[in-house]
C-alpha cells in the first residue's frame, strides 16, 4: 500500500522522530510506513490521517489505485 506520509510530514517540517512521538510510535515505525515496508493498523492509519487533517484514503492508497 502506497502512502503520502513522507510528503505530508515534510510539509509540516517534522522529523520522523517528532511524528513518531506525536503518534505514539517509534521513529523506525514511521520510517517503515513511509518506505511501504509496513502497513499500519486501521487505528494508527486513522490517527495519522487525523494528524494531517485528512481522510485515511487521502493518505493511504491501495496499490494500482489512482490517486
Amino acid at each position: 500500500m502506497r502512502n503520502d506520509v513522507r510528503e505530508l510530514r515534510a510539509g509540516k517540517a517534522l522529523s520522523q522522530q517528532a511524528l513518531g512521538v506525536s503518534l505514539g510510535v517509534s521513529r523506525q515505525t514511521i520510517n517503515a510506513i513511509e518506505q511501504g515496508r509496513y502497513d499500519p493498523s486501521l487505528p494508527l492509519a486513522i490517527k495519522m490521517a487525523r494528524f494531517f487533517g485528512l481522510a485515511v484514503e487521502e493518505v493511504f492508497h491501495v496499490d494500482g489505485e489512482a490517486r
Binding site: 505514539g24 510510535v25 517509534s26 523506525q28 515505525t29 517503515a32 509496513y38 499500519p40 493498523s41 494508527l44
Partner: protein, 135 residues
Amino acid sequence: MSTAKQGDSNALRRWTVPAVCVLAAGGYLAVFLATGHVAAAIGSAAIMLLYGTILVIFSRRSEVAALLRDDGRDERRAAIQLRATAVMGLVIGVFALTMAFVELAQGHGPGDWGTICLVGGGAFLAAIVFFARRG
C-alpha cells in the same frame, strides 16, 4: 488507559528484561556455586549481566536491542515480537519432533523430546481454540 498509567507501564516494561538478566545471573551464580562449579558460576553470571548491560546501553540506538529489551513498544514492534516468537516456537517444535523420531528410529522411546512435543502440541491446540473463540 491514561497517559500517566501508560508511561508507568512502559517504564516497567523497559526494565523487565534487564531485571530478568540480573535475576538469571543471581540464579546461575547460586546454582553453580552450590554444586561447586565456581568458573561456570562466574562465567554464566557475567554473560547474563553483560547481555543486560548491552541491551540497556544500545536500546536507544539500535532497534534490535530495543526489541530484545522490549523498549518503546508500538504495534509494528509488537508484530515483530509476535512473528519472532512464532518462528522460535516453530524451530523448537520441528527440532523436538525430529529428535523424537531419531530416538524412535534408534529403538528407544521418544523420551524428553516426546514430552516437549506433547506440551508444545497441546499448547498450540489450546491457543488455537482460545483465540478462535475470542475472535
